[in-house]
Symmetry: D2
Subunit: 174 residues, 4 copies
């Protein structure tokens, strides 16, 4: 049965390179045909992001929380994820992403903020109950010509990590 996958893009500008990086990561990580993908470009929802309640946002939040895998992708703003992405995540109650496998992705101009997805976005996703299968992925935006190669290396690491976790899962108490 197909797993449910969602990409959440936190760039206030739509159709960004950040989105392309996240889409490529999903393609490289998962078997074609094994998943059902939806992309949520938060740039399309800024008008509603602070509305409360909002049926539109509630539906998006529910989609992500119900996913098996979610990729959260943000450009680097001030060394960390955008306020737009955080505002979306703020709408969840405590533990609102319980059980979702989540991959944090940041894009940035150079390596200066390469630690961002691992030290800022990953802990935020863990706080919400998500499970991050390894380091965060940081992509230098000027390397779009090496996109396939760099994303493949990251995907291979996540794939290996997920396989190893399955080994441990086999010994867990039922």
């Amino acid at each position: 049965m197909a797993i449910t996958v969602t990409i959440v893009v936190g760039n206030p500008k739509p159709r960004s390179r950040t989105r392309i990086v996240a889409e490529t990561l999903v393609q490289k990580l998962l078997e074609p045909g094994s998943y059902d993908l939806e992309v949520i470009d938060l740039a399309d929802h800024t008008a509603e992001i602070f509305a409360w309640p909002s049926d539109e946002l509630a539906a998006l939040n529910a989609r992500v929380a119900g996913s098996d895998l979610a990729v959260f992708a943000s450009p680097t703003y001030k060394a960390t994820y955008t306020g737009l992405l955080k505002a979306f995540l703020d709408r969840y109650p405590a533990n609102g992403l319980a059980g979702v496998t989540a991959i944090p992705v940041h894009t940035g101009g150079d390596l200066t903020h390469a630690m961002g997805p691992t030290v800022t976005l990953a802990p935020l996703l863990a706080e919400l109950g998500a499970i991050v299968p390894g380091r965060g992925f940081y992509f230098v935006a000027g390397q779009m010509d090496r996109l396939d190669e760099l994303v493949e290396a990251a995907a291979a690491e996540y794939a290996a990590n997920l396989a190893r976790l399955a080994t441990v899962a086999g010994s867990v108490r039922s």
Copy 2:
């Protein structure tokens, strides 16, 4: 086949409550008989921790790196893990814990530093290539009378997370 499990205790004082918390977590998480456990109490190795090279420490480092699951447990010192635990981890090369499922555990006097294992130790383990299956676990040292109950709740969450990860692992590209 039994999985390999290691507990690394970063308390400079041996046989600490921190060690007991970690041992209890392993017992609550895994099926009896399904794993081979070794406990490394770093308090027993302080004389060698800055020696280079050191056969003694190299053997310990190798044991942890070869584990399927490792629990890293530290009392809270200055809001984060101890220097002793960090000195042990510093001996690894880059990516030295690749593929190890790692659970960060801090103990502390009250909730003031409860974020510690999630925002400081978890990113450190991820930097080393380990996979942290959820939040870090923080245990208030004054609650030893509720040890079983509190650790069981945490173990149940890690167990559920590992099961969910196995779902995603099934769709990963081979």
Copy 3:
């Protein structure tokens, strides 16, 4: 001459307790009559926060960047500052708060996220070039009856820190 002080409140709900905590901190820290205070309640500006350009937001950003002292106050959302506050700070260019003395304040339900202002908001303000004179201040929202006492203790620490910094400033190369 009066110094310029700004409070930025990151609560999506206006007139919050978080705002009161920040206002009290300024009162306890500074001599009456020695400063000119403006409070920016970001709840009043959510409709414009993702508009680009925006004269309204640009004026607010400029006010804060031109302050001698700015207090950034946020309720704790997912263990850290709100997306609303981050979205406001995202509008600055690199180093946009250069030279501003900045105090990070979080309010929260209990001590679980007490590390937040020190480990998440303070580094963000430093990244923008601001100077944080000590720890972040965390206030447990249920303790409004002890507001004066708790804020006075924090203000006394910031005051002592600022006095000590002046000692060092006297030896700096001109």
Copy 4:
């Protein structure tokens, strides 16, 4: 009157480039003759670092806590400060660096871990009660030929920050 300045070097190898970077920073920041400097190279004290009590370490801890300015300099190990530096700081009681102006310095091979001193060492120093006057300073070890230039730029920023803080200090309640 001369201010008291201490450099604490957290490299397990003595006489490191990290030490030279810290020494250069002090020279560029302070007026010659205006300060009394001591350098503590923790590599010289590894045998005692986990001894308790230790007159030798207690004297070093007291020297740093009594300083007006302290520079804490560490090579980057696993994206953050060394275990050796942390073990030294662990010997302090809570708030043990109260009122000390502290500058965090990391050296590293490239920019990948440039966020380290700002997001990991600075919060640790703040937790101990120290005051960090700005961002942490990160130095790429391969740029020793540009040492003077790069350190001068950082020193100028700290100097400007300290001068600005003095402005705010003038309005603080007495």
